[in-house]
Symmetry: C2
């Protein structure tokens, strides 16, 4: 069993696909499924297509936001077939699986999949440290949702059998909730200092940069310390100006 | 496109699965689909699930026997999750894909998949040079048919991007039809010489042995020459006895 890897389906529209996803996950030894705003769940079609993987369905959590789905995850990879505007690190399923394998032992990872029709939205990508593109026929690259989950789960499960040295970190990786607080803090401070966002994508770029890096908790504390210091100096400066 | 690799579905019972197979194949750049005794084909469900891969469905050939499906193939791998009684070479999907990649340039390969319920029958395995087992959760190892096709097609398509030296053969590999004639010849001669089949599996074992080897046409001619010689000597001996 690969219990530290979570599959997150964002806005899945067909309950049958949720069932097929559960079956594919269980085939590959995964069982942590989280559904963000599923259109219909639970549903008889999901159960029918789960074909014996109903334990995965029964244990699935339903949440309202991607942030809630990945709050305890130290690494988030998003599956997408479309090229994106901003600079992104794209990985193959095999590379993503190796990144997950090399996480520290207790770190949880999430694989994010968007809706059948539209894939992941830009705001979902803001939670990802890596985008994964399944190599496919360029003229016909859109895989069925459960097929995409199967391929990534297969690579995750295979990678576990090729262990190499894990990353040695001086502190655990920050999880999604901690990163969320950091980004909120960062945005507040940028706002306080009236930093001009010329493109409208400033926070997106900053999130992607830090998500990609894989911050540990010490590093996160250092960065938040810097932000607090910036805020404090500004407030002191304001007091001194006013006084 | 990977035109030298054929997907063969033996006794598929659900037309929807045939459609999903077509989609998975096209995703991975395969398009040569052969159906052996499909229960219902063509069918609206197949078309619905093909989701744009109807060109693969339209071009699919329907045949009555596995022998006909692989008559022009030099290498046949069968997908199975069950352990078999006789000694078999089992490969991972990745290893099978590498074997296919390393075939001589003009050699055609077939990947055989059995029915949803029963998998490949023993007589189907007699056409295979290799059995492929998809690594899966031992407690829940049965993949949906189209998922199995996707995984193998994915590995075939990835392997093409890691080219190594191809096998150098002095003659083309024998194809399924030529091997079929050879096995019939061999069986005739064994019968002529009244060779005792103690287990009832003699021909199965012999087929598996030669299928695994990958005979080229020169080697096949040599073996058939030997068989003819054995027959001839026996006939001469009979004549001499009688005369």
């Amino acid at each position: 069993m690969t219990d530290h890897v979570r599959i997150v389906l964002v806005d899945p529209s067909h309950p049958g696909n949720i069932g097929s996803v559960a079956r594919a996950m269980k085939n590959m030894g995964l069982r942590d499924l989280v559904l963000v705003r599923p259109r219909s769940f639970p549903h008889a079609d999901a159960l029918a297509l789960a074909a014996g993987a109903d334990d995965v369905l029964t244990a699935a959590r339903v949440v309202d936001t991607v942030a809630a789905a990945i709050a305890d995850c130290a690494f988030v990879a998003g599956s997408t077939s479309r090229p994106r505007n901003l600079s992104w690190e794209f990985a193959t399923p095999r590379e993503a699986a190796e990144r997950i394998r090399d996480l520290p032992g207790d770190a949880r990872a999430a694989l994010l999949f968007g809706s059948e029709r539209y894939g992941l939205a830009n705001e979902d990508l803001n939670h990802c440290g890596l985008l994964v593109r399944i190599p496919a026929n360029e003229a016909y690259s859109s895989l069925n949702l459960a097929m995409a989950v199967l391929l990534l789960s297969y690579e995750v499960s295979l990678a576990r059998e090729r262990p190499v040295g894990r990353l040695q970190l001086e502190a655990p990786l920050a999880d999604g909730a901690e990163l969320g607080h950091f980004y909120a803090h960062l945005e507040r401070v940028l706002d306080e200092i009236a930093f001009e966002d010329r493109t409208g994508y400033l926070m997106d770029r900053l999130r992607r940069l830090f998500n990609r890096t894989g911050l540990d908790r010490n590093e996160l504390q250092i960065l938040r310390g810097i932000l607090s210091a910036v805020s404090g100096r500004r407030r002191r400066a304001a007091r001194e100006d006013g006084g």
